[in-house]
């Protein structure tokens, strides 16, 4: 169960991420279904019944509001009917006009719902429509369901009686006009289905809006049962020969689809239901809070490992040699500067001795100078070690 819930979350996330493209794709698929079914069933006008026309219309309607698809489907049906017979097109046009006057004018944005009922009939799953519309919609949805059923039965009749409806003479046209109007308006099966679907939808809507536990499940099953009962009563009363096997299996399939719809729209955990009671100045409130089942979709972290980079081989011996060459002059420079500094210290020390103690180092210039000179020369020859030793002695002496 949790896996399916995760899939649901992932699907929702996917839809949220690519909503624009998904909607366009769904519209295109709906267009293919609508125009494809019209052209394959009543394709009397050869130019309009081509695959190119189906795909072209679907592609255009995918980028336009759904109301345009409804209008395009109506015009296509009328074009095919006109190719077959003018009276048929006239009666169909009148029926479409009535639908527009009584429904589409008020809710043009929900006009596309009319398209779903004929599609469901064509795919042999009509019983899902009232249940699905009852679960997601309002009682007003009964009107598009009824309109869709009327359109389907009209197309079904024309498809079955196309040979009889042909005729260009004035007499046959009048006959066709009357026969088609009579057939469309007096089709008992159609009216039984319209009533059954409307009742089913209202029952499903009424039950699923109740606060009782598992109201959606109860609504789905009750709606399917009501549907079967009304259709069977209609069948027995008007003798319309509806296939019971198809009715029962269709209803079971409708229950399954309704349950799937419930899973996607209304997933709640009744075992964690909380009941609260509180009041204000005017009312007492009895609140029932049913928590939703939420399973967060796992977020996949992708760790990118950088690709292997080629490194050059370093000749360590050569580098070492270069470093040594650079080091030696630096050491020599340092030694020279240290020697200069020490020499200056020595001169200063001698001057201070002259001044404070009166010991004249200048009195024995030859001796001392020679010694100093020779010492300096020795220092120069012996390098750093001797210099530092002298420096230390000098400082000690000064102290």
């Amino acid at each position: 169960m949790s896996t399916i819930l995760v899939w649901k979350e992932e699907l929702q996330m996917l839809y949220a991420k690519h909503a624009v493209y998904v909607e366009k794709a769904l519209k295109f698929i709906l267009g293919l279904a609508v125009f494809g079914l019209i052209n394959s069933n009543i394709g009397f006008m050869k130019a309009a019944a081509s695959m190119l026309c189906t795909i072209g219309l679907s592609a255009v309607c995918a980028f336009l509001p759904l109301t345009v698809m409804v209008i395009a489907a109506s015009v296509l049906i009328l074009a095919h009917f006109y190719a077959l017979s003018l009276p048929v097109a006239a009666v169909a046009g009148a029926i479409f006009l009535v639908m527009y006057i009584f429904y589409f004018r008020f809710t043009p944005k929900k006009a596309w719902l009319v398209l779903l009922t004929p599609i469901a009939f064509a795919f042999k799953i009509p019983y899902i429509i009232p249940i699905a519309f009852g679960l997601v919609g309002t009682p007003v949805y009964a009107i598009p369901v009824a309109c869709g059923s009327i359109v389907y039965y009209m197309l079904h009749y024309v498809k079955g009686s196309s040979a009889a409806l042909k005729g260009t003479s004035a007499d046959s046209m009048v006959k066709n006009f009357t026969a088609f109007a009579k057939q469309v308006l007096q089709n008992k099966e159609m009216w039984v289905i319209v009533v059954a679907f409307a009742l089913c939808l209202l029952v499903v809507y009424t039950i699923r809006t109740k606060s009782a536990d598992h109201s959606w499940k109860v609504a789905i099953v009750t709606g399917a049962i009501i549907n079967v009962i009304v259709i069977v009563i209609g069948d027995v009363t008007f003798d319309i020969h509806i296939a019971y096997v198809g009715l029962i299996f269709g209803s079971i399939f409708a229950i399954a689809l309704g349950a799937a719809l419930e899973f996607f729209i209304f997933t709640v955990d009744y075992s964690r239901t909380e009941r609260m009671q509180f009041e204000d100045d005017e009312y007492y409130y009895y609140v029932k809070a049913v928590p939703k089942i939420m399973v967060p979709a796992p977020v996949k972290k992708i760790k990118k490992i950088n690709e292997h980079k080629e490194t050059t081989t370093i000749d360590t011996d050569a580098i070492r040699k270069v470093a040594m060459k650079q080091k030696i002059p630096a050491a020599q420079k340092e030694a020279a500067s240290t020697w200069k500094r020490k020499n200056a210290d020595e001169i200063l020390f001698k001057k201070s001795l002259d001044k404070d103690l009166g010991i004249s180092t200048q009195s024995t210039p030859g001796k001392s100078g020679n010694r100093n000179t020779s010492q300096n020369a020795a220092n120069r020859n012996n390098g750093n070690r001797t210099n530092s030793a002298n420096g230390t002695n000098n400082r000690a002496g000064r102290k």
């Binding site: 009148a94 029926i95 006009l97 009535v98 004018r105 006009f177 009357t178 009579k182 057939q183």
Partner: protein, 130 residues
């Protein structure tokens, strides 16, 4: 320079613009009573056309039954029945349409009001920056 309040307001307005349709501006230019009366009248006219079509189709479909044993009394009864149903439908439809268009006008007016309020706030923010 970017003003955070202004950016926020403009984003909000852009989001609300989807809800605000061109029709809303048109609707809000009418007084509520005028708008609902006009559209109720149009609805009644459409109803008359629709009812005429339905009656015509039903008459066409039941031509045999109507023409059978047609007498003056039967014709008058049928005509009176058709007119009575029409009047009842007109009354029901007129009341329903009046309520529907009043509610529609209210919603459109609210959306336009909110849009103009946001516009004026935006204008003030621009003035403040100058």
């Amino acid at each position: 320079m970017l003003n955070e309040d202004r950016v926020r307001l403009m984003t909000q307005m852009a989001a609300n613009e989807g809800e605000l349709e061109e029709e809303d501006l048109k609707i809000s230019s009418y007084y509520r009573k005028d708008y609902s009366s006009l559209h109720t009248l149009i609805t009644v006219l459409w109803l008359t056309v629709g009812y005429g079509i339905i009656v015509g189709l039903v008459a066409l479909g039941n031509m045999d039954a109507i023409m059978k044993n047609l007498t003056i009394n039967k014709t008058i009864t049928l005509c009176v029945g058709v007119v009575v149903v029409y009047v009842v439908l007109v009354i029901i439809y007129a009341i329903a349409a009046n309520q529907f268009y009043k509610a529609k006008h209210n919603k459109a007016k609210q959306r336009v009001k909110k849009y103009y309020r946001d516009l004026s706030r935006l204008g003030k923010l621009y003035m403040k920056e100058k």
